[in-house]
């Protein structure tokens, strides 16, 4: 069932990944561009995400009203996502309707209009999206913590962008960004489902091979940041009656061997989590070390971890939710102590084996859907290559106790982390 992907590269640089899966008459077509908030400069934050929105505003061949109906009317799901390192557009639809998705995506790789009036209408939609995010205390805490965790790297910014930039970004800013990054050599096409590879490659070649390589202007230079400087504690105040404690450590990039050690460490500390942003999760964390330490001791009501696969070193976050009367410093101390135990060699081989079994189960759940299979091929190509996914489990199985110990000592350093606390404002300030 989990056959390996086929890889094909067109002369214009477009990478095509395909995987035949025949259990249902479906196809999932994903086009990935290596552009996200990592590729943004101060004053233009949020431009990648806004370009993604503009890709739904039409081309001469697929005007907005035609584009809107093209996939839906054949029963397909389609959407798009923008993240730190990438932007992706996908369609999952009946296999015999695949030509519609292929034609539409090939067309909007180069022919999107970026109409001025539509740009202004979308400005208020995106501001509305940001306002919706701001309603959530965790967004506000995450934004502050992220900003403190990086000195100059664009990962400091939220993908949606700063409000002041969303008010000033122009149609030309958006169009230039589109022209700079939406080019075949900067894209990966991942298709999984009910097709014959040879026929599909012919069809994809016919649609995509003539798309010219654009005159890509120099991309911004990004300097990865490794260790977080001195530890810092920041406090965000807001409304509500809930306290959020987030501790952020620098995490290795996805292609670093240590990344797999962090996957196991995350599983031990806060429970197994799928790395997929597209489903496949769903194992509880009630026997994880920090659940036992915090929730079972009534210090917090919840604990979770967050690790992302990224091009440059990003963050590993631990988040605890608690009530105002609880002692946040005791929560931080307890997390630190548990990490210290791991750093002092308390991990058993049985724990590691258990984490690997959980990862295998998560992969089995995540591999059920054709959409997820296509997702993983493209997703892993954004920070490594598609084999990263194929070898994920075998790489986990190679992890030794010593590697975990060493990764815990290197990355989960109490002297180099950001502690963020969201605290309800005193009621008299309301």
């Amino acid at each position: 069932m989990n056959s390996l992907a086929n890889k094909h590269i067109l002369e214009n640089g477009l990478t095509i990944l395909t995987k035949e899966i025949h259990h249902a008459p479906l196809i999932s077509h994903w086009i990935w561009y290596r552009v996200g908030s990592r590729n943004e400069i101060a004053g233009k934050t949020g431009v990648s995400h806004w370009v993604e929105h503009m890709q739904f505003k039409g081309t001469p061949k697929y005007p907005i009203n035609v584009l809107d109906a093209a996939i839906s009317k054949v029963g397909g799901y389609w959407n798009a996502m923008t993240y730190l390192d990438w932007t992706t557009y996908y369609e999952t639809l009946p296999a015999d309707k695949a030509p519609i998705a292929i034609d539409l995506e090939a067309d909007r790789m180069v022919n999107s209009v970026f109409d001025k009036k539509e740009t202004e209408l979308e400005r208020t939609v995106i501001i509305s999206e940001r306002e919706g995010n701001e309603n959530d205390p965790m967004f506000r805490l995450g934004e502050a913590t992220r900003s403190a965790a990086f000195d100059q790297h664009p990962y400091a910014q939220q993908v949606i962008g700063e409000m002041k930039d969303l008010r000033t970004i122009s149609r030309n800013d958006l169009y230039n960004h589109y022209q700079q990054y939406y080019t075949p050599g900067n894209a990966v096409l991942a298709v999984a489902g009910d097709f014959k590879t040879e026929d599909l490659i012919k069809e994809l070649t016919q649609k995509y091979a003539d798309i010219p390589i654009r005159g890509v202007s120099p991309q911004i230079k990004v300097t990865p940041e490794n260790e977080i400087g001195e530890s810092e504690q920041i406090t965000v105040e807001g409304h509500g009656d809930t306290v959020y404690v987030q501790i952020s450590y620098r995490a290795p990039k996805a292609t670093d061997d240590d990344f797999f050690s962090l996957v196991v460490l995350d599983s031990l500390l806060t429970g197994p989590a799928s790395l997929s942003m597209f489903g496949g999760g769903g194992i509880s964390n009630k026997t994880s070390r920090l659940y036992k330490k915090l929730v079972e001791n009534d210090l917090s009501v919840n604990i979770s971890g967050g690790l992302q696969a990224t091009i440059d070193p990003f963050l590993y976050d631990i988040l605890a939710i608690t009530s105002p009367e609880k002692n946040t410093q005791l929560i931080i101390k307890s997390i630190t102590e548990e990490i210290d135990r791991i750093q002092n060699n308390s991990v058993s081989q049985a724990e590691i084996d258990r984490a690997i079994k959980q990862a295998k189960a998560l992969f089995a759940y995540g591999s059920e859907s054709i959409t997820n299979q296509a997702f993983w091929m493209g997703y892993s190509s954004m920070f490594a290559d598609h084999t990263w996914f194929d070898t994920f489990i075998s790489n986990l199985e190679k992890i030794t106790k010593n590697q975990i110990l060493s990764a815990a000592q290197r990355y989960l350093d109490p002297n180099h982390r950001i502690i963020g606390i969201y605290r309800p404002s005193p009621k008299e300030n309301y």
């Binding site: 069932m1 029963g75 309707k97 509305s128 701001e134 409304h239 009656d241 079972e296």
Partner: protein, 429 residues
């Protein structure tokens, strides 16, 4: 579609069935393309049974089922699950208690053993009652700050006045604080029973194995419950506009929900209204409503409508997230779209597009084990017949624009809506 690929659509020949002597029904479907299994179950125990002064009791009870049993401590219970990479969650809806689990196929028996033990012999340990109470209260304090949740609570309260459906399933802080171990024990003893329980399993297992496991773990469950189902009378639909707003300090956006009733799941109006709703607030980037509120006016990141239908009632909701300055304008735009929708039939083009969408989506919805299990559960729960998905294309294609108009007019009126919102702006009581 060739016959090989028709096999993924569950039907009378491929759904394995078993009815135990205690009344429980167990259904299964083999999906050998997968390495895992998904289990879903429903039984009596929904929020509708909450005493009014103990709102949230059913939810509290269901959540405690995964906090240890007479045979297994909390720690042992979760250690067995998590060591296998499996999951088992108990929850509560308006009508039923639910359980959902997934595991690698080799661990299917684990899910049967633990769900059986949890349902029949929960420990309701005092320590875990206290801990869960704190967790539930923390969840409620987060809910109080969530504009979407608060708008939804407000809508339910005024759509279902003096009815349990108007109360939040997860209760209020005061009611959760008042619930005792004795309340929980009594609720469990009086309500939980295999009599109307339905369990569905889909995945890499065969029907015989599921039937054997069902006999092994559920056939000996026999209880004499005193409070079975409860079906209080559904209140009449809103007779005019009922406008309510809940002020929440410190928010940037207002969540807006407008609602009325829709047909029950078994009504002949259900399919015409479903297709009509797709045209009105789903198709493409959220149908006619998305087009006018988001695409043409740029007022909201999301604006759509949805229909939910159960055995005794259905609801038709219209939602949008908007800047506080644009709330009234958005309400006017949505009401105008509703007005047009119940005035003239949908166009042939709209009808063809939405039919095509719904037919095309069926294989996608049946792709995963969870999708298959939920589809089989719906067929059993609403007595749709096990050939429902095999006949689905014909059912969709038989609906006309006139049927959509006539059915929609029975439920939808631009001047008879509950309009609820939450976020910035002056409270409307």
């Amino acid at each position: 579609m060739d016959s090989q690929k028709m096999k993924y659509i569950p039907g009378p020949d491929t759904i394995s069935t078993l009815t135990l002597e205690n009344g429980a029904t167990v259904l299964s479907f083999s999906n050998l393309n997968s390495r895992s299994i998904y289990m879903i179950g429903i039984l009596n125990g929904g929020g509708v049974l909450d005493p009014s002064e103990k709102t949230g009791l059913a939810h509290f009870t269901a959540n405690l089922l995964s906090r240890g049993t007479e045979n297994l401590s909390f720690s042992d219970f979760h250690n067995q699950l998590e060591s296998a990479g499996a999951n088992l969650v108990f929850s509560c809806g308006s009508k039923h208690a639910w359980f959902r689990g997934k595991a690698l196929a080799e661990d299917v028996e684990l899910l049967f053993r633990l769900s059986s033990d949890s349902l029949q012999k929960p420990s309701f340990n005092q320590e875990y009652i206290g801990r869960l109470r704190n967790q539930l209260i923390a969840g409620l304090t987060i809910r109080d700050q969530d504009t979407s949740e608060m708008a939804s609570l407000l809508l339910d309260r005024y759509l279902f006045p003096d009815h349990p459906y108007g109360q939040p399933i997860d209760g209020y802080i005061e009611t959760i604080q008042s619930i005792t171990r004795s309340d929980i024990l009594q609720f469990h003893n009086q309500v939980y029973s295999p009599a109307d329980m339905i369990i569905v399993v889909a995945g890499a297992v065969d029907g015989q194995e599921i039937r054997d496991l069902s006999e092994k773990y559920f056939s000996t469950w026999n209880v004499d419950t005193t409070a079975q189902s409860k079906n209080p009378l559904i209140p009449p639909p809103p007779a005019n506009i009922i406008r309510k707003h809940s002020f929440i300090e410190g928010k940037s956006q207002v969540d807006l929900l407008m609602g009325c009733f829709s047909p029950v799941r078994t009504s002949s109006d259900y399919m015409p209204v479903s297709i009509g709703n797709n045209i009105l607030g789903q198709f493409g980037l959220m149908g006619r409503i998305g087009k006018v509120v988001r695409s043409k006016s740029g007022l909201a990141y999301y604006a759509s409508s949805s229909v939910s239908a159960w055995s005794d009632v259905g609801t038709w909701d219209f939602s949008a997230g908007v800047n506080p300055e644009n709330v009234e304008k958005t309400i006017d735009l949505i009401r105008e779209e509703i007005k047009q929708f119940v005035k003239s039939p949908v166009t042939d083009q709209e009808l063809d597009n939405s039919k095509s969408l719904l037919i095309g989506r069926m294989p996608i919805s049946l792709e995963s084990n969870a999708g298959l299990a939920n589809a089989i559960l719906s067929m059993q729960r609403f007595k749709l017949g096990f050939d429902y998905y095999q006949k689905y294309t014909g059912l969709i294609n038989s609906i006309t624009a006139k049927q959509i108009l006539t059915a929609s007019q029975r439920y939808l009126h631009p001047d008879r809506l509950v309009i609820a919102s939450a976020g910035p702006g002056e409270e409307i009581k």
